[in-house]
Symmetry: C2
Subunit: 233 residues, 2 copies
Amino acid sequence: MKDCSQCVVRNRAICSGLLPDELIVLGRLGRQQVVERGQTVVWEGGESLIVANVIAGVLKISMSISDGREQIVGVVFPSDFIGRPFGKDSPYSVTALTEAELCVFTRSAFNEFASKHPELEHKLLRRTLEELDRAREWMLLLGKKSAGERIATLLLEMSTRLGEQGCHADLNDLNQFDLPLDRQQIGDLLGLTIETVSRQLTKLKSDGLIDLPDRKHVIINDRMRLTELAMAA
Amino acid sequence: MKDCSQCVVRNRAICSGLLPDELIVLGRLGRQQVVERGQTVVWEGGESLIVANVIAGVLKISMSISDGREQIVGVVFPSDFIGRPFGKDSPYSVTALTEAELCVFTRSAFNEFASKHPELEHKLLRRTLEELDRAREWMLLLGKKSAGERIATLLLEMSTRLGEQGCHADLNDLNQFDLPLDRQQIGDLLGLTIETVSRQLTKLKSDGLIDLPDRKHVIINDRMRLTELAMAA
DNA sequence: TCGATTGTTTGATCGAAATCAAAGACCGCT
DNA sequence: AGCGGTCTTTGATTTCGATCAAACAATCGA
């Protein structure tokens, strides 16, 4: 890492709040790394050798069953933390959905540094609690929502999460963004098949709630109706 | 709290590892409380005024949609921690599935104590990471598994989690236990209806994999086949 | 002990999403 | 610009679990 004080996620990542000299020590432990779309940085079942902060790009966290069925259990954005500090093997894979830039630490070096810096662990705890809330919200979606509700929920979630990052095409417009996931991945995230995803998106489009100028780009026309849809059939 | 050093979850709860004098301070902040079956201790959407350690009993964590659909997003056992420290309102309810005993703290008192005791926060972080892993494992179940696989997975999960607690009828027999959930709750946990739960349990029974001497009691006869079932149709 | 209430099982039918199948759109490459 | 591959959409059919309905079993209080 060259210089943490110049880092674009400096104020949002878990390292925010560290003192300048602590930041220098941490910076020396990390190295910046670019990963290309599709590349996996943590393997399900493998010893989680690294942890990292996401500087740029979007990644998926996924788990699978032996017969190949895959479920995406998390989507990770800039300033988020990835990997499984402490304990055992990683129960999931982490794979880049777009080209991404990471600030990578070996797990052991990070664990050691963290154990000496309660402020860092506190930040990580808060983030983990938020991630747990999000996971549970998604359990509600997977357990109880219809296909239409799921798609509506996804679009709104993507809008806000990308918005927090300033990742929107137009910085001022939450209602326009590029999906970092293809149809198959949306299916794997929502517990639906690719065909159902496609049909539901087409339906939202023909109902006028959204526009889909191309495969990835989404324009939300009627946020209110989409929000209603997200919560009730 | 009378005396933490006598607490039955003393060695497993997040307070383990605190020094004797720290434990005395923490003990004075908490109070022991018995909650009866069905009683809710944290309300979805409400300000999470309390956090607690579970001393005895089993509780559910649940979220719901405005129209009444409910999803159980977690099941909590003795030595587990409940409530949402730091931040905002609780996004979920916590309700006792059996009579339970809690060691309750006001959230503010706990937050303050925790901020001065990194060791405690570290324990809480590890636990939260484990809870997150479990939530994601459940997302895989909800998103990708068939009804039969879900039931098999639940029975094995219950067997191991109750086993960790020494809650089994026969302490040496992981293959026999009482379900703390009724059929409706099993459905709400697995994303199934009560009828499907009943049918799948009946099927496992007639296939000889399990016995169901009464509503709550489960005997696992063929753990291996049940394990295979849990992971593939 | 009985009747009421609640929880569970079983049966019949329905429907949302999966699966199977094929056409169409988009992208990168030469 | 044209070709080959991948991704997406659309259509036809099937299936698993939901829903509707009713019988059955367990629990509780009087």
